[in-house]
Symmetry: C2
Subunit: 356 residues, 2 copies
């Protein structure tokens, strides 16, 4: 991952940004987390983006906005569109194209969530019953397809082939990552390299595209585009590593997702790979029974967690996330010290700290 | 639907086309159907398209080409890419861009088939076990997503925003049509207008986009683009009307699909709407029980067919298809009398005649 000290933009912090940075700082003093701070920093852009999301998910076929609203308008963190918005502003962009493209990023993300609901039979998504549970597999697949297509329609209206290239490429990489996850599921011979390819695909590719698109609309030179892409990619990997640790250790209520989903489905994540590699023969029999054969008793999730703790598998997963987080922050080095840079760096730290 | 007598292209039949037309005519005498004749006419283009399809569905994630091959390379009719290829040649196009775009059209079609497998639990697709039955819901959804994304990547390489606009718009219209079909399923109060919107969306939108894209790469003026779009749209509606009739009356072996699928799923198609509208109160009780409540005995499919025959519902559905077919052929009026024009008109007739 490249990180050069040469500034990519010569711009100064804008007045409004400075104002928002003060707000941001004030918010921090009040204990608002970094994601909220970033949200406040690009608040106007995000509100415009949210309006556009609601506007563009409309259809004469009423089930589409109804189901889409359940997931897209349910007040998710909007992390990915926030990255597009902040990346563009970091590059000194003053137009409005980033708003539409941030909406595209969220549509693609939502489509993958809807298709993931079919795939994972998740009982909880963002703390609510999954769209799938409410509306059925069929509707989730088709509304996902609609949002995905709509994202491309909005990109076409924007008119940048470069943006279309980035987001179509990210989309096929996401699908590859998800399929690879499917193949490696229930397979304890999965390698760390395969696991990394899974999470780079299913999660980090869209983070990387989200930030790169922000740089592209701002007409950043290639080095700046690459740096923001690197930032997104490293942040995405860190984010997913933490997510995979939280799946075994989170406060279920606070996280809004079911702890133990990965275990029940036999997903092979880094905590599992580390515990398996460091485990005794007897422990490996446990992992094979529970994850490969999926013969699980009520006490097995607790046992899995105990084994992970014994081998430091969760701590080391978080530590790995921290290294990726450092990469991400280093990738920002060449950008001027505007409020967005600090806010993006803080979001990296926040994504890792949520593990505690 | 517009059809003007003014020629859109002044070109003459090319020598190679004339040669192929002779082949075509010879083939017809040998009893080869119109689709085979069209296939022979654009054989070189189609072979290039098939090579590109295999090349671009590759992925390091081996399940993707494996599953995609099961459906995309299983030797479907390639009707939609054929339409793109023939439309471009009809407009006098001599380049190779139409080959890549025909592959995009087939990828989008394949993605919808894969997602439809999830949706419909079809036991048979193109005479083979459905991808879903072999690989599971998850893989079908994700490989469909991959092919869909790949289609957009190939379009971006082609570089035409107009083509991207046409195919992204078609894609969201397809999803809308499929969702509307889901909503109207098991609902005997569905109107003919709603049914028409379903089939325009789920089938005709991609036919229309396929032929329009052919005109666009050939730099046809707007009237020519609109005429080929009209042709595709009318052909697509005719094609689906016949399909919906065949679902009750086909020779299962010859069609390569299960007869009675629509009935078992409670899909509300034109044969049902006509039989229901023309039926007695007692017959409507039958339709409500079998399609709305989906309480079906073994003899009910036979009874449904008998009621449809009593009320001329199948014949009138085919008659409706014939009207759309006439529209399609009329839309070709402005094009010069090259071999592709005759071949496309013959395909319209072929799509309708397969009902007998």
């Amino acid at each position: 991952m490249s990180a050069t000290a040469k500034p990519f933009v010569a711009g100064q912090a804008r007045d409004s940004v400075a104002g928002q940075a003060r707000e941001n700082a004030a918010a921090s003093r009040k204990g608002v987390d970094a994601l909220s701070a970033l949200t406040m920093l690009v608040r106007d852009d995000l509100e415009a983006c949210n309006r556009l999301i609601v506007e563009r998910m409309q259809s004469d076929v009423s089930l589409i906005p109804q189901l889409a609203a359940h997931i897209v308008a349910a007040g998710g963190k909007r992390l990915r569109p926030l990255l597009t918005l902040a990346a563009a502003r970091l590059c000194g962009y003053r137009g409005q194209r980033h708003v539409g493209l941030a909406a595209c990023v969220e549509f693609i993300h939502t489509a993958t969530l809807l298709h993931d609901d079919v795939v994972d039979e998740s009982a909880l998504r963002r703390g609510q019953a999954s769209a799938n549970a409410l509306f059925g597999n069929k509707a989730s697949v088709l509304v996902g397809d609609f949002l995905f297509s709509r994202a491309f329609e909005v990109m076409v209206e924007d008119g940048s082939l470069e943006v279309l290239r980035i987001l179509s490429s990210a989309s096929s990489t996401i699908a590859e990552g998800e399929v690879l996850q499917l193949i490696t599921q229930n397979d304890t011979t999965t390698t760390e390299a395969q696991y990394l390819k899974v999470i780079e695909g299913k999660t980090a590719a869209l983070f990387a595209a989200a930030t790169e698109v922000g740089a592209v609309v701002a007409d950043q030179p290639p080095a700046g585009q690459a740096a923001l892409r690197d930032f997104g990619m490293a942040l995405g990997v860190a984010f997913q590593l933490v997510d995979d640790a939280l799946d075994y250790s989170a406060d279920q209520q606070a996280l809004g997702k079911t702890v133990g989903d990965d275990f029940r489905e036999g997903k092979i994540t880094l905590p599992v790979l580390l515990a398996f590699a460091r485990g005794s023969d007897e422990e490996r029999i446990f992992w094979r029974r529970t994850l490969e054969e999926r013969e699980q008793a009520d006490s097995d999730l607790g046992q899995a967690l105990a084994l992970m703790r014994r081998h430091g598998a969760l701590d080391d997963t978080i530590e790995r996330a921290r290294l990726y987080g450092d990469h991400a922050i280093a990738a920002l080095a060449g950008f001027p010290d505007v409020a967005e840079k600090k806010a993006l760096a803080d979001v990296v730290a926040f994504c890792i700290e949520r593990a505690h």
